[in-house]
């Protein structure tokens, strides 16, 4: 095991711990605003994982959209629904124990499925900058979904405005 691999492995575990820890905070904290802040941390860590997987462009998009847009939007919504982040309000329902059981079962089942699956691992690695090829792919092979997704965005934008505006 060379040094590079060792560092990568170490970083992976640190990031994984951060992700899992902050995600757990997100779902369990009483203060919803704090949850949102932990969500930001979680997203950042996931961006680190992407870089580890040599997907710089996706990592950048992750930071821009998740951290920059969605989280801000969430915090904005939390602010609008004012009193609700007061710690006195109960934040979880009575499904905690059944939820834990089902989630635990799901995790075990999933991990065992992953274990038993034989993946067709490619021997090649990703060479150089991915951003160029992603740009090419988006405007050639995936031009149709690309355009459709822009339509979806427009529709969501207009829909959100229509839904949220006052009469």
């Amino acid at each position: 095991m060379n040094l590079e691999n060792g560092i990568q492995t170490a970083i992976f575990y640190i990031l994984s711990a951060l992700i899992v820890g902050s995600a757990f905070m997100v779902v369990s904290l009483k203060n919803i605003f704090h949850s949102a802040l932990f969500l930001v941390l979680c997203f950042f860590s996931i961006a680190g994982i992407y870089i580890l997987l040599s997907a710089e462009f996706v990592a950048a998009v992750q930071v821009l959209i998740y951290v920059g847009a969605i989280t801000v939007l969430l915090i904005f919504a939390i602010m609008l629904t004012a009193q609700l982040y007061s710690p006195s309000i109960r934040q979880s329902n009575e499904q905690v124990i059944p939820g834990l059981i089902i989630v635990g079962t799901l995790l075990i089942v999933t991990l065992s499925v992953l274990r038993r699956t034989s993946w067709r691992i490619s021997t090649q690695g990703i060479e150089g900058q991915t951003i160029v090829s992603i740009g090419k792919f988006l405007l050639t092979t995936y031009i149709l979904p690309f355009e459709v997704v822009s339509l979806v965005l427009i529709a969501a934008l207009i829909g959100a405005i229509i839904i949220a505006r006052k009469e």
Partner: protein, 641 residues
């Protein structure tokens, strides 16, 4: 032209439809339509007459109307000299009567309807005359019966009028039943309803003489009903309740002559059956005598004329029964003109006096000159005075009777005497002497032109129509309308003179009794009181029928109602009702405890299940999500392990 003669009855039919559907609210227009239609029919009838005169053969136009296996019905027309003469009679009289009606019915609230009925009648009568089969003639036969019923009961607010309508309809129906049975008997035997074919079959002996006689007499039953012959004559005097022009058209000139026409049309059949002809002749002679004797003492101007009509129809029937095709139809034609004239004249008098009773009239000659003169002309013609129409036709019948069987001639003479007497009794009482009812007399006036002009025209016809049958003519009526026989009896001067003398003596007797009053009418009446009473009450026919037919039917109906309906049928109905009630009580229990129980049980089960199951539907989003993931885990577990 002949193939298009079907158009003749179409005009009045069209007029009827137009009036009923469109112009019922416009009396004046309706009468114009009706008169115009019948005038057109008249013109076409004239054309038909002329073309038949030019070529006097029998022509038939028909098309296949109904084709059943083994039974074929043709619709069509039969045009022969008789038809063409009848067409003329019907259209002329109908036209004049309709013109006359414009004046007579002027104030009637149902003026337009009246004209529509007249049009319908004219259509039916023309159709009857043109018929070429038993089937067709029966349809039109019933149609004229219907219009007769409608017009007799035209003033249906009057109980007597509506009763008279019903009486006429039911009485003629009795005859029509015999007619129908006769038609069935004859047509099923010979296998055709067409006149010409049936005659051909009968002549070739396709039917046994007994059956032929039976069916001929049954068919004659229809004529008896329609032409008011004994014993079904009782309806015609009552039919006088209808408007007077209707009496003139339907109950004097045309419809009642349909019976005569029927016998004439079926002459081929009657000629082959001696017993049937004899029955026809006897019924005719008997009716002629009976009705004339009743007419002697009646006081209602229209009833006198009605009995006179019955009597004259009997005359024609007698002639036909004696084989006098020409004589019978000739008298039919002349009679139509002078009897229509007499009725219209009587209508004119009634119009002026507002009464039917001759004893309230008197001295009307001064007030109503045209009416009086034409009426007297008509009476003279009816009495058979030379050289008026009636003389020639009556002479023809008497001559025939004398040659065939003198008994009938003697009866005919007696009838002629009585006819002359009662007609001039009527004339002398109504038009001469003093006014008996001064108030009504003062208000009397001559009728308007629209009524007197038809009278004058008919008076001309009464004088001249008979001249076509003057026996010395080489091409007269008898060489135009005849049946097989080389019909040209040598004129008998002695008979003519005797007949004229008989008629004149009748007139003289009436003159002596009712004008000079040298013989007291009252004295005569008292002297022959029983006979007078018998005659005055019309031989008690109405009472007799009442006692032997109507009363028993009522009794039977009453008995059936009391015993059968109330006893048996009601009991059955009640029993059925009670049984149903019991049954429903039983089924109610069944319904309440078993059906309802089952239904409610199903309901309870569903509701109970729902009450339990609906707990699952918490409305909690996260419960649902939980179940979804639970399901996913289950699926994965099942799939993988």
């Amino acid at each position: 032209m002949l193939p298009y003669s079907w158009i003749i009855p179409c005009f009045p039919l069209l007029s009827f439809a137009l009036i009923i559907f469109f112009t019922i609210k416009k009396p004046k227009l309706s009468s114009q339509i009706s008169i115009g239609a019948v005038a057109l029919s008249f013109i076409f009838s004239l054309i038909v007459l002329v073309s038949v005169l030019g070529n006097p053969v029998t022509s038939e136009f028909k098309f296949n109307w109904l084709d059943l296996p083994g039974f074929k019905v043709d619709a069509g027309m039969l045009i022969d000299p008789l038809t063409s003469v009848m067409l003329m009679v019907v259209t002329i009289v109908s036209m004049l009567v309709q013109i006359y009606s414009v004046g007579y019915m002027a104030d009637d609230p149902r003026f337009a309807r009246y004209f529509s009925f007249l049009s319908l009648f004219t259509f039916s009568m023309l159709g009857l005359v043109l018929s070429n089969s038993f089937f067709e003639i029966f349809i039109f036969w019933e149609l004229v019966g219907l219009t007769s019923y409608l017009l007799i009961g035209f003033w249906f607010e009057k109980k007597t009028a509506s009763d008279a309508g019903k009486k006429a309809f039911i009485t003629t129906r009795t005859g029509d039943l015999a007619f129908l049975v006769g038609i069935f008997l004859l047509t099923t035997t010979v296998g055709t309803v067409n006149f010409q074919e049936a005659f051909h079959q009968v002549e070739s002996g396709a039917i046994s003489s007994g059956l032929l006689t039976l069916s001929a007499i049954l068919i004659f039953g229809g004529a008896v009903g329609k032409s008011a012959q004994f014993p079904l004559h009782v309806w015609l005097p009552d039919a006088m309740e209808g408007p007077t022009p209707v009496s003139a058209l339907i109950h004097a000139a045309t419809m009642v002559a349909a019976g005569v026409y029927l016998v004439a049309r079926l002459m081929s059949i009657y000629a082959l059956s001696v017993p049937a002809s004899l029955v026809v002749a006897i019924i005719g002679a008997f009716t002629a005598f009976l009705a004339a004797s009743i007419a002697l003492v009646q006081n209602d101007i229209k009833r006198v004329l009605a009995y006179s009509t019955i009597s004259q129809l009997g005359y024609m029937i007698m002639a036909l029964g004696l084989g006098g095709y020409t004589a019978g139809t000739f008298h039919l034609m002349t009679h139509a003109s002078f009897k229509a004239l007499l009725f219209l004249g009587a209508g004119s008098v009634i119009h002026a006096m507002h009464t039917n009773d001759i004893w309230e009239m008197g001295g009307l000659y001064v007030k109503m000159r045209t009416t009086a003169i034409t009426f007297i002309l008509g009476s003279l013609s009816l009495a058979g005075i030379f050289p008026l129409s009636g003389f020639w036709s009556k002479d023809e019948i008497l001559l025939l009777a004398w040659n065939k069987n003198p008994i009938f001639a003697i009866v005919g003479m007696a009838v002629a005497f009585m006819t002359a007497f009662y007609m001039f009794r009527l004339c002398f009482i109504a038009f001469y002497g003093k006014a008996r009812d001064q108030h009504k007399f003062d208000h009397a006036h001559e009728s308007p032109k629209v009524m007197t002009v038809p009278l004058v025209i008919l008076a001309f016809l009464s004088i001249f129509a008979g001249w076509v049958g003057i026996p010395w003519l080489s091409k007269g009526y008898s060489s135009f309308v005849y049946h097989h026989e080389v019909h040209h009896l040598e004129p008998n001067f002695i008979l003519m003179i005797v007949a004229t003398l008989v008629a004149l003596s009748g007139i003289y007797l009436a003159y002596v009794i009712y004008y000079k009053k040298t013989i007291s009418a009252e004295g005569l009446k008292n002297k022959f009181a029983p006979i007078h009473k018998l005659l005055y009450n019309k031989y008690y026919f109405d009472e007799l029928y009442n006692a032997i037919i109507i009363r028993p039917i009522f009794k039977l109906a009453d008995f059936l109602f009391k015993k059968f309906d109330q006893g048996v049928i009601d009991w059955l109905v009640n029993a059925a009702g009670n049984f149903t009630v019991f049954l429903s009580w039983f089924w109610e229990l069944f319904d309440t405890y078993i059906v309802d129980g089952a239904v409610n049980g199903v309901g309870y089960v569903v509701r109970g299940t729902g009450a339990v199951i609906r707990r699952v539907q918490t409305g909690q989003l996260q419960n649902y999500a939980f179940i979804i993931f639970f399901g996913i885990v289950l699926i994965i577990l099942l799939k993988v392990f």
